[in-house]
Assembly symmetry: none
Homo-oligomer: 155 residues x 2
């Protein structure tokens, strides 16, 4: 709050200063006959430059900053009983369906069997598994299962 207000004020001050400098420049130029013939062109150029800068400033200021997800360390409870690690699951961005497929993978089912269990086609399971591997940054289902177990998102 306070910082943004200060920032805006600083910008206003900057722009005022720039404008004053421009006016001063114009006055100076008016006194010089040599430059009088090019006064109009100079003026336009200055205006163009200044408002280009204004546009840049506007765009950079108004475009909302991108959200940066902070790194987080998630540790499993050292106990034997399983609790789903919601944080890790959320971090991976797996959808509900993808989690289902992953769990069946971990149980040792083939894609064909998973398709049968979930009443969808083999191709659908292939699509799901591809997205799972992509999101988990692995190449094979065994890697995915191993990682999922260590993350605590699968039994």
């Amino acid at each position: 709050m306070a910082t943004s207000f200060l920032t805006i004020n600083k910008n206003i001050l900057f722009y005022s200063a720039a404008f004053a400098s421009l006016l001063l420049l114009l006055k100076l130029l008016e006194t010089q006959l040599l430059f009088t013939t090019y006064l109009f062109e100079l003026y336009i150029t200055a205006v163009a430059l200044i408002f280009t800068a204004l546009g840049v400033w506007l765009a950079l200021k108004l475009v909302q900053p991108k959200t940066v997800v902070v790194e987080k360390a998630v540790y499993l409870p050292a106990s034997a009983n399983f609790v789903l690690n919601e944080a890790a699951l959320a971090a991976l961005g797996l959808s509900h369906r993808e989690l289902e497929v992953l769990q069946l993978m971990a149980a040792g089912y083939s894609n064909q069997q998973i398709a049968g269990r979930l009443f969808v086609s083999l191709n659908t399971i292939k699509t799901h598994s591809s997205k799972i591997f992509e999101k988990m940054q692995v190449q094979r289902r065994t890697q995915a299962v191993d990682k999922a177990r260590r993350l605590g998102i699968v039994v």
Copy 2:
């Protein structure tokens, strides 16, 4: 390559058109005595608007939206408090080499990678895995890994 060049060309064309329109507007205004007194102000306003737009366009176009999302979950190391179930292992009748292969399978390695690690050929690993599946009475490596985990003969 080709697309960016085309895009730039399109932008150049757009700006040329805008500029031509502006000149035309000026000519029109010059013919109107009524507007002549405000011609300079109008001109400046137009230039300001156009170059503000240019600034916005520049900023949005040139500033690449690099959103670096650092998402990292720390998971359990492979062996936390694991105790090998000797009895289950003996009951399965797995040989030492077969257990090695099974453990690497559980870690998510491909047959080719396992072969490289154990300095043997891919075919040898295939033979081993076939015998493993036979002894464990499973069909797939994922099933073998799952069963091995539940039996406590693998991390």
